[in-house]
């Protein structure tokens, strides 16, 4: 159970805000197990963790509100991506939709389609990792940077900064260059590096 008397005490000094008590911490292994089960049953295709949690895998933890999972999703009539089966399967397991995410084992998970060739490549070439007894896949650091540069919101650029500052392993610079060149992102990368001084 999570409870922080230190933080509660701090909140007491902030009028208008109040703390709603302790809650159970979600379990990543169970979330991964559920996603693997969906893939085994063909509800989703090959999938990989991207977004903030891919950066967190390689660097220090940063705050984020949900787990982004990019997946090869089935298409319905007319070639449109269909989330109907995914949502109905998850509802039958008791998981509720929260905004654009689904609350799986108490944590919001966004299951996102492979919207660009770069994201498709990032999923295909993701690294296999172990979470407890479960295996899952996570974007490589090089693909994480490229995808963040592609979306290029301020928060995406911050994630890259974060990885560059606290990454636990050196980047494969040659691989990164190849990816950035292939997807036309070298300009954004150079601009970001220039901004760092």
């Amino acid at each position: 159970m999570f409870r922080s008397s230190f933080l509660e005490a701090r909140l007491d000094k902030r009028p208008g805000l109040r703390f709603c008590g302790s809650v159970a911490t979600p379990d990543l292994e169970k979330i991964v197990e559920r996603l693997n089960d969906l893939q085994r049953r063909g509800v989703i295709g090959l999938h990989a963790i991207g977004g903030a949690f891919a950066f967190i895998f390689y660097a220090e933890p940063i705050e984020t509100l949900d787990l982004d999972v990019f997946a090869d999703l089935p298409t319905g009539a007319g070639g449109l991506i269909s989330l109907d089966r995914l949502y109905s399967e998850l509802r039958s397991l008791g998981y509720d939709a929260v905004g654009d995410a689904i609350l799986i084992e108490g944590f919001p998970v966004q299951i996102l389609p492979e919207t660009t060739p770069l994201v498709h490549e990032a999923v295909a070439e993701a690294r296999t990792i172990q979470v407890g007894k479960q295996e899952t896949r996570v974007f490589t650091p090089e693909h994480s940077i490229a995808v963040a540069l592609q979306t290029n919101r301020p928060k995406d650029r911050l994630k890259i900064e974060h990885l560059l500052e606290s990454g636990r392993e050196p980047l494969d610079k040659e691989l990164l260059e190849v990816i950035l060149q292939k997807h036309g992102l070298e300009g954004r990368w150079k601009k970001l590096l220039a901004g760092r001084g």
Partner: protein
């Protein structure tokens, strides 16, 4: 005279005077080391830390809650930005879910959406709502699936 707290490095000789610049460098180096140490933690551990950070943020009852309850009591549509998209919803029930997230049960009836709009009530995390506004437009709460005792809510602050 040395700087208090800055001389924890093992390479620092006791009593060695530090310039302000050197002290700052040592503090920054200690921070970098700490960040790298955190980066080495197992993924599950980091996930737990992030989830707990988020739970705190989500456990805060935001001032926008009063706007939400105001919209519910007046049966007014609510407008806000969520995940970068503008949403117009019929608000039904506001409370805290079993996982400690302050949430709103509402049906999106207008604005923007990543997929097609589905006329069923979804949960929206209050912490992710930006620019919350109560609309002048009223609605008639006639969702046949609406359950006043919303099972997703551990506690209910206000509802239709």
């Amino acid at each position: 005279m040395g700087w208090k707290g800055a001389g924890r490095s093992s390479s620092l000789d006791e009593g060695e005077p530090l310039t302000r610049q050197k002290a700052l460098e040592r503090i920054l180096e200690a921070k970098r080391l700490r960040r790298r140490e955190l980066a080495q933690l197992p993924f599950e551990e980091k996930f737990r830390m992030v989830a707990e950070m988020g739970q705190l943020a989500r456990s805060i009852v935001y001032p926008s809650s009063s706007l939400i309850c105001d919209a519910i009591s007046r049966r007014s549509l609510l407008e806000f930005d969520y995940d970068g998209l503008h949403r117009i919803v019929q608000p039904y029930c506001h409370g805290t879910t079993g996982t400690g997230r302050e949430s709103l049960r509402a049906i999106q009836i207008g604005g923007e959406s990543r997929g097609r709009l589905i006329a069923s009530a979804k949960l929206w995390i209050v912490a992710k709502m930006v620019e919350v506004k109560v609309s002048n437009q009223a609605f008639v709460p006639n969702d046949p699936h609406y359950n006043r005792n919303d099972s997703a809510m551990a506690s209910i602050h206000c509802r239709v």
